[in-house]
């Protein structure tokens, strides 16, 4: 039994990122698309932490923390937009939100 290395952690990160991509491409509920984006951000965080462990430098942890702060700001603004959208159009279904389609 060998110890956990860079490869399995990055594979997990890649799988989670791909799941996020699938969610963004296939789901039509805007909230679930948002959650898929959060999943992708977490996959990136995981690879930051894995590379920090590999190189033995703590800098990667700070990048992960900064990504989390950006995700928090994104969630706040994005959910405010969702509420505004629901108030004006009474839907969160992405196919029905085609106001700016030419």
């Amino acid at each position: 039994m060998e110890a956990v290395g860079l490869f399995p952690v990055l594979t997990l990160s890649g799988i989670l990122f791909s799941l996020g991509v699938i969610g963004v491409l296939t789901r039509k509920n805007i909230l679930i698309v948002f959650m898929s984006v959060e999943l992708m951000l977490n996959a990136v965080n995981l690879s930051f932490v894995a590379f920090a462990r590999e190189t033995g430098q703590t800098d990667g942890h700070l990048f992960a923390a900064i990504v989390m702060a950006v995700a928090a700001a994104e969630a706040a603004v994005g959910l405010a937009l969702v509420i505004l959208l629901y108030r004006n159009r009474l839907t969160v279904h992405l196919d029905e939100l085609d106001l700016m389609k030419g």
Binding site: D59, A65, L84
Partner: protein, 172 residues
């Protein structure tokens, strides 16, 4: 032992991640996402990133997901999205192709790096070391390496909160 814990945590994380994408009810998706975040926090702790693990639970699973669940409950969504193949088939196939290409590229490019992590010092990833990186070492009087990005993040969060309030209010 470490490998066993990692295997359990990562398989649970992947299963719950599949749940996030496939569940019909947004609340179920959100709860699966919370579970994924907890598993990832466990993996961060295993990789020696104590600070990131704590922040993951406090900020992500605690704050951001509570915000998500509040909004989902506020909106009174109905269960929708019947998966008719003619409508969703091309999208699902496109998503699969993109994900297989992404994962395949990653696995091919990394297949040489198969050894375990080396040893790191006891100071690795502690909050003290992160504080030194952010704010500098008080003994030698140096300025932190990441002080400017830290302040930029605080400005970003302020702008985000102001933006959310402006968007959310009916009348200013």
């Amino acid at each position: 032992m470490e490998t066993l814990i990692f295997t359990i945590l990562s398989s649970v994380a992947v299963l719950l991640g599949v749940g996030v994408v496939t569940m019909r009810n947004p609340i179920s998706s959100a709860l699966s996402l919370v579970g994924t975040f907890f598993c990832l926090a466990g993996i961060y702790a295993m990789l020696g990133a104590h600070f990131v693990a704590v922040i993951q639970v406090l900020v992500y699973a605690g704050a951001i997901m509570v915000l998500f669940i509040f909004v989902i409950m506020l909106l009174q969504l109905r269960d929708e999205e019947d998966y008719s193949w003619s409508q969703y088939g091309p999208r699902i196939i496109g998503g699969m192709v993109v994900s297989i290409v992404l994962c395949g590229a990653l696995v091919v490019s990394l297949s040489g790096a198969n050894e375990g992590f080396g040893a790191v010092g006891p100071e690795f990833g502690t909050i003290r070391q992160i504080g030194y990186l952010l704010f500098g070492d008080p003994q030698s009087g140096t300025i932190g390496k990441y002080l400017l990005p830290f302040e930029a993040v605080s400005a970003l969060l302020t702008v985000g909160v102001v933006g959310a309030v402006v968007l959310g209010k009916r009348k200013l």
